[in-house]
Amino acid sequence: MTSPLAYVIPILVDIGYSWWRMLAALLLSVIFSWAVGVTAATNKTAEKIVLPTLDVLQSVPILGFFPVMIFAIIAVLPGKPGIELAVVFLIFTSMAWNMAFAVYEAVKAIPKEFVEMTNDIGMSALGKLRHLYIPASWPKLAYNALVSWDVGLFFLVSSEIITLGNSSYSVSHGIGVAIATYAAQGNYVAYSEAIALLLVVLVITRALFLRPWALWSEKFKTAEEARAERPDVVYRSYRWIGEKTKAKIFYNLQGIGLIFKPFSRAARSINRRLGTRSTFVGKLVVIVFSLFVLALIIHTIFLGIVALHPIFQLSFWLYLAHLEREVIVALAYSFIRVWGVYAISLVIGVPLAIKAALSEKLYEPVSTATQIISSIPGPVLLPAMVVALLTLPFRGELVAAIVIFLGSFWYIFFNVLGSARTIPKPMLEAADLYGIRGLRRWKDIYIPAVMPSLVTGSITFIGGAWNTLMVAEYFAVSSSSGSVVLTQVGQGIGKLLDIATYSGNLPLLGLSIISMSLLIVAINLTFWRWAYNYTTKRFSYNV
């Protein structure tokens, strides 16, 4: 038997692979957010296009699109680099939208006089970006990057696991790969080590990178903002962890400054070059780049037409109709699964969060502990659950429910925790004064007070839950000896997506994604929009 320590290095290598994907996606997201957020905030036409687009992108189950992404990207860039790019792109799609919104909001909030001032002194567009828009967006961007990191981690592990079902798409290294492979081999020593190491690296990443970033960005807050803004739950927890781990030392190293200095220097030199010399070179770069993008688009459309030739035959449509029936049944099963787990999460999450928020003793430890637990991407625990629940009936259902729960529960918990914290003191004092206690207190004070954020949390919960289905409903690992299905449910849209992916059934894949997206967007536009408007109007303090 090999020594348990023998796995440490390979696991760290795997984490290294995963982290490069995460950081690449984060960097892409930051650049995307600046480009799109600033454009939308400063240009009315762009604003009208960008906001609804981001809204839809935020609400469709991105993970479902992952297989299509792999097919598309591999068509252009075959082999491992293509898969690698697909994974990075998937993580990017889970990180970027909320960050772009953050930049948009921050730039929108810049007082008009600042923009006028830059016009008055004749600042160039690039100068405004560098001296006004980017600095002003740092605080919101950094905070949203913290949130995006957790979401991205979930997508990272999920995408790595999804690729494993089919050996021709699989990434060779990554923490998700390591965990799934060790689990399939029954090597539980290595498996537990991998999870433990992941947790350690996660905490270090926070202390060394994410937290200093958030702290550093504080200096870009205007004086009024700094005074008005209460540090929120998530941030407070980070601060608490930081103080406990004495991360101050790392902050003083200003590692983050070392990372960003070269960028700002490069930007300055580009700025100077574009400004002093004739803009011919700049134009040339833009032209060549646009031509390249145009060629890429034409190439893709051409490939699409070639791939789509069967749509002109009736038999193809009959086949589609047959598939769609299957898809609708699967959707119904998944719908019940998602909303069932949602109901359970409400029953557990709401009382727990309110209790924790209102107790001075419980608040700090609970919010910190839940922060750490919530950052463990649920899918890494999947193999352990499969084994632990081996003898139980409905094992597949149970595993699916737990994975959905782990992936989405936190949205409800943290939203309610945050808003219960901000229930005005006089309201609680009045409740004390009039002896409103027990169930009445919950019904008349607590629940209405947290209602608007409960709806916000619920919308994200449902959105997140649909996303988890692809890993929750079906989990397969392929190895040299053939693929092993570790867990699966009877029927479900996530399972259908997996099977369509592994068997390369593009029509089924397309139908599943489109049907699922339509269902989700429809519920968002009707039920959730109503719920959101109703609760924010009915349960807001400032009436």
Binding site: P111, E113, F114, M117, H131, L132, K219, A223, G275
Partner: protein
């Protein structure tokens, strides 16, 4: 990039009656959902070389909009603004503006806040930009505070950083939008003459100042000419030349005669 207005170097200094800026039949209206709202209506006046001109009017009359039109930040619905013989259609180097809340970037130091005005000047080496900014800060009495952030400065000091930023571009005309309204009344009272001396002195590049204000005493204390605007849509109801020696005695009879005169036009 700026359009450099050609400056006649040989022009003698005594010729102070030359017109530096002309505002000609400026009208400005905004399209609301159902109707058109007239903000400014046929406003004309001129600013002579060496003059400190104030625009006064009730709040909401569109004084700030007028100032932004003069700065070239906002385009009027009709009418023209001329700096010497050149029409102003966008910000030019010879006209600089000081904003009501100073618009100092909170993430830049006092020195950097002055320096950003020079960023777009490619001919100037970085070292000279820094030196110029330092000189401007020294001119407003802020040497030693180069590395302070706006959040660490008092209201009066922030105002002086904003003045330095306006001065560093060496404009001939400075536009000031309610420069003292962000300060508490006591500080503002104290600083008025000081600010005047920073702007109008032999070393200063500034030849004329246009200030927007709603404080009658402040306007009489500082101006050579007062342009009084009516409520919306604003038009010029009177121009008064203030012929008092500086520094002005706010308790004098002549001072109050002017105050009454302005009040009479305002009401």
């Amino acid at each position: 990039m700026y359009e450099e207005a050609t400056q006649d170097e040989g022009q003698p200094q005594e010729e102070t009656s030359a017109v530096l800026l002309t505002v000609k039949s400026i009208s400005y209206s905004v399209q609301l959902e159902k109707r058109v709202l007239d903000v400014l209506k046929d406003i004309s006046f001129s600013v002579n070389d060496g003059q400190f001109v104030s625009i006064i009017g009730p709040s909401g009359a569109g004084k700030s909009t007028l100032l932004r039109i003069i700065a070239g930040l906002v385009r009027p619905t009709s009418g023209h603004v001329y700096y010497r013989d050149q029409e102003v259609t966008r910000p030019i180097k010879n006209i600089s503006m000081m904003f009501q809340n100073y618009a100092l970037l909170p993430w830049k130091t006092a020195l950097e806040n002055v320096e950003i005005a020079l960023y777009s000047n490619d001919q100037l080496p970085a070292k000279e930009k820094r030196e110029k900014a330092l000189k401007a800060l020294t001119a407003v009495g802020l040497s030693g505070f180069e590395n302070a952030y706006p959040g660490e400065l008092s209201g009066g000091m922030k105002q002086r950083v904003a003045i330095a930023r306006a001065l560093v571009l060496e404009p001939e005309i400075l536009l000031m939008d309610e420069p003292f309204s962000a300060l508490d009344p006591l500080t503002a009272d104290h600083l008025r003459n000081e600010v005047y001396s920073y702007l109008i002195n032999p070393q200063s590049p500034i030849r004329s100042v246009i200030m927007v204000s709603h404080n009658v005493e402040e306007v009489i204390e500082l101006s050579d000419k007062v342009v009084v605007l009516s409520p919306r849509p604003a038009h010029v109801v009177g121009e008064i030349d203030i012929l008092l020696n500086r520094p002005r005695d706010k308790k004098s009879f002549e001072f109050y005669t002017y105050v009454d005169q302005v009040f009479a036009l305002l009401t």
